[in-house]
Amino acid sequence: MSFPWARHYEPKNPLTQWIDSRLPLPRFVYNAVGAGYPVPRNLNYFWNFGVLAGVCLVVQIVTGIVLAMHFHSSAAGAFESINGTIMRDVNAGWFLRFAHANGASMFLLVVYIHIFRGLYYGSYKAPREMVWLIGVVIFLLLMATAFMGYVLPWGQMSFWGAQVITGFFSAIPVVGEWIRVWLLGGYAPDDAALNRFFSLHYLLPFVIAGAVILHIWALHIPGSSNPTGVEVKGEQDTVPFHPYYTAKDGFGVGVFLILFSTLIFFFPDYLGHPDNYVPANPLSTPAHIVPEWYFWPFYAILRAFTADVIIPAKLWGVIAMFGSILLLFFLPWLDKSPVRSANYRPMYRIAFWVLVLDVLVLGYCGGSTATPTIVIVSQITAAYYFAHFLIIVPIISRLERPKPLPNSITEAVLGDAGGSRMTETALSA
């Protein structure tokens, strides 16, 4: 669907006309990310992060395919093929490897900002619930892919990460241990586990790509949201995606690449763990097992449970950790406020920033050694995380008195004293 004033694809030369009448793929692209997709004129830079996530996916797939050409997926050869062959012998192998490893961090960073953008501006609300639901599915797939990729270098953190994460499943009563052995194809991580993780690590990015197409499809039914949360009322509220947002996204990609290259060329190991340069040793656990930084908040939630209440603490931890993400599936129905944007929701805006702080503290706890203080702080912040979604947001949506909304996007933009650069761009359209 699109707005009635969307521009129409009109192939001019005989070749494009011939193609259009047989396989209208260029028309599809034109309507999806070209001039045929009208977008609210007031999007800010937080709306760049969807496209940036797409760029990350492409970077990961391209570097990953080339790396797979040099990788040996065996417990005996994996470590050497990455730290020996790829890092030292393969032409530009070090670059591809660091781009892929840091690309994962950049991907998760971009996706977290994208998710918090959605939380702040109420992008999950009707009529965009399906966009949000598919987004949560993509997030879960992304976490699974990142975890399995981290196992492949078969260093100490790879091995013990695999041991700990598959250990979650042994918390399931009765069948847990059987499921763990089935997932690993053995009693401890070994060749069987490494090979299936490699197989799935290669497959899942393409599943993600498919889910991304559904995500964008679902988005394009109602069209993009915007910082006011007010729906598009007419042609004056929108500009065509191309050239306006292709240009703006292009600028964003440039900024993104500066940060990305800084990581690759100057701090390639900053986000990694030194223990992963030690080959996997099934008989010796590193003193301090930590996952990659992007899993820290969830790791903190896992470790926050220390007492058996009806079911063992370990099972509580696992349920809470998965629950903290599954909870997001219910958010569109937990937040009943008809106002989307937190700019017009004074109470929700405070709750949002407290949640951001809460997740950052959880992340800090997850990355630290589990001292008694850290455990108590994790318990408080984990409890707050659940309270935010299950108690605070539903109550706020009943009590809060939102600020008056602008009558339209155009009014919001032009009513701004002096106008913004965004306004001028849109006016010159």
Binding site: L283, T285, K314
Partner: protein, 194 residues
Amino acid sequence: MATLEDGVSPTQTVVPPGDVIENPRRRDYLQIAAVAFAGVGGAVTVLPLINSMNPSADVLALSSTELDVSAIEPGQAIKASFRKQPLFVRNLTPAEIAAADAVPVSSLRDPQTLAERTKEGHGNWLITLGVCTHLGCVPLGAGEGENRGPFGGYFCPCHGSAYDTAGRIRQGPAPTNLAVPDYEFTSPTVVVVG
């Protein structure tokens, strides 16, 4: 199918026209039966796919390990490998056995006596997996000079689970005692695990 040779003219039908209308469920039944049969058949093909992910024969072939324990002095322990997992074999001192027996079983998270966790006649041999039952780290305490934790058994550095001299969980997040694998002594100094 009727043919002309049967003496039926092309305009006649073998099935009386009314039959189809009076008995429409007959076709529905065939359709449901056929689709259900094909569906079950299709679903069954998933079984070998799932089963192929179970431990393969070469992995299972490692499932029995023979150990000579004659060199382990009382108070010492060794780390062996069983099914690619660490295995702790410990020769308990009389003092350690007494310490384990002195604990009231009802006070334990996973109630078991030391005698239940060892073989009769070999009560000084504590043989357990060296896999913490919390999240699978290798506890310390089997190697020379390693921290044995507050209960003198094993101590897991990952999340602080402490096991006593019977390998029972006493403190920390682990839900159960260190697992005791199936094993038997084939001679006073040789044990076959698995």
